[in-house]
Amino acid sequence: MAPDSSAAVAPARPPAARPPSNAMKRFARRRSTIAFLMTLPLISVIAGLVAWPASYAIYLATLNRRMTAFIGLENFDILLDNETFRAVIWQSCFFAITAVLLKALIGFWLAHMLHHLPTKGQRKWRGMLLVPWVIPPALSTLGWWWMFDPSYSSINYLLNAIGGPSIPWLGSPWWARISVIIVNVWYGAPFFMIMYLAALKSVPEQLYEAAAIDGASGWQGLRHITLPMMQNIISITVLFSLIVTFANYDIVRVLTNGGPRDLTQVFASYAFQVGVLSGNIPRGAAVSLFMFPLLAFIAYFVLKGVNQRNKEMA
């Protein structure tokens, strides 16, 4: 017997001298204490850098411009009366919904096409197609900005070469909106593709074989097997992407900076403009808080999925 291991055994206690439940409680409490200490940094981040600022934002939004007086919901009132801000709401929703829809469709299509390839070739293609996601979007948008340049646009050069007209990409409101969406889709579609590809790979091949034997065509296989099996991942990816797209800042800031005439402003860029650049912090906070209802709505759906997972984990 190891000398030090026998020494480590706790000295014999007189049996039942102490009610065993006490000792056990102490044991459990000790574990809880360690666990609490281990999660303390996380709790500080969540509480100090997310929960506290979020509630602070609500407080800020009720102050006047110089932050000297409480003015209730006046900031929200003013915003809703404001033509520009109503356009921002509209543009944010239009931008997020269109972009996410396109990303989801293109991503799904590409994932499907990739899935058809022999496994060896997939890696190479996947590697190439994910590049837009890897480059920090603020930087790649600079490249797009240059490609959209009114006089030097290399895209217009190609359009002209095939006999098309030159497009005022960032000059006219509608083309500017479309440009923002194009860049966002270019950046985000690969992400959808990767998520869907992972989901596609998790559908067992036998299911398709069974369906084929049952007489299902390719489309029926997609409709009755692929889509239902991927439903979870599709909805989660779409919800996440909605949040991220809705809250997007980089692309608008670099590409149009809100212009022309504030018509491409989204919540984030408008909040920045009002809150930081124009120095009306409470109004800016109020703008960004308009994102909250949608976030809460999405969070509700995602949470249901999370609780499911927590149950499985327990």
């Binding site: 940094p41 969540i46 096409m113 590049v131 979007p137 930087l139 290399s154 690969p190 996440f240 976030l295």
Partner: protein, 295 residues
Amino acid sequence: MSAASMVPGLGRRVGSLRSERRWALITAYVSLIIAAIVMLAPPLYMLLTSLKTSAEIADLGGNPWLIRTPTLENYTALLGNEMFRGFFINSILVTVMVVIVTMVISVLAAFALARMKFWGSQVLATGVFLTYLVPDTLLFIPLYQIVGGLGLLNSIWGLVLVYPTLTVPFCTWIMIGYFASIPKELDEAALIDGANWMQMLTRIFIPVALPGIIAATIFAFTVSWAAFVYPTAFITQPDSMPLTIGVVSQLIRGDTFAWGQLMAGALLAALPPVIVYAFLMDYYIAGLTAGATKG
């Protein structure tokens, strides 16, 4: 259906199956080639521009997709530019510190949440997830006030303070997933072998979940490197700027943009995440997908 009527049907099916397969493959390759062209054209065009002289860029006569006199002058000019080197150093400092802080916080917390059931652990796990859903664009105005109150505006320390809101929730979340997939018997065996909680974490969980740790580290790295909202809001002085905002705000000067240098700067700034991606693609993708497939 009788066997006799099935056989000819089967025969026809086999023939059409082959051509169906071929068409599917052709569609796939055509789609992927188009997609690859679209996906790679912008970075390619950035590269082309960065290799041109200002004169060539300004010349409207030729095909902008071709280079006539390639030059590295934009790159040498940038690398000789002290301010640009400063951006790089700031980005590296901030990213390294944020990655370390993030990994320490999330590995410790994920271990406790995955393995040591304690009062409130469920609530906390849900809280991590909710935090993950709160975007930086909702937080930057109150954080602007808070960071300002701490006197950390225009300091990289302000960024080190707030970047964890971008990285910690997701990294904790995927580490919980990786840790939870380790069989329970493994920690029981370690417990019996004499390990305490800390040894169990460092000797068993971290090595076994190493792929997850690498994936989370890559995630934290790319997110901190690409962060844009916070530095744009909190940093206005060039000498504290990280690359993203530095390139976007400082390399654009006046009306005549130095497009060549701007593109070279953007590409150089994008290089570290691209390199990481090129060498650790599988971990990179594992990290991306783990968040959803495990959730």
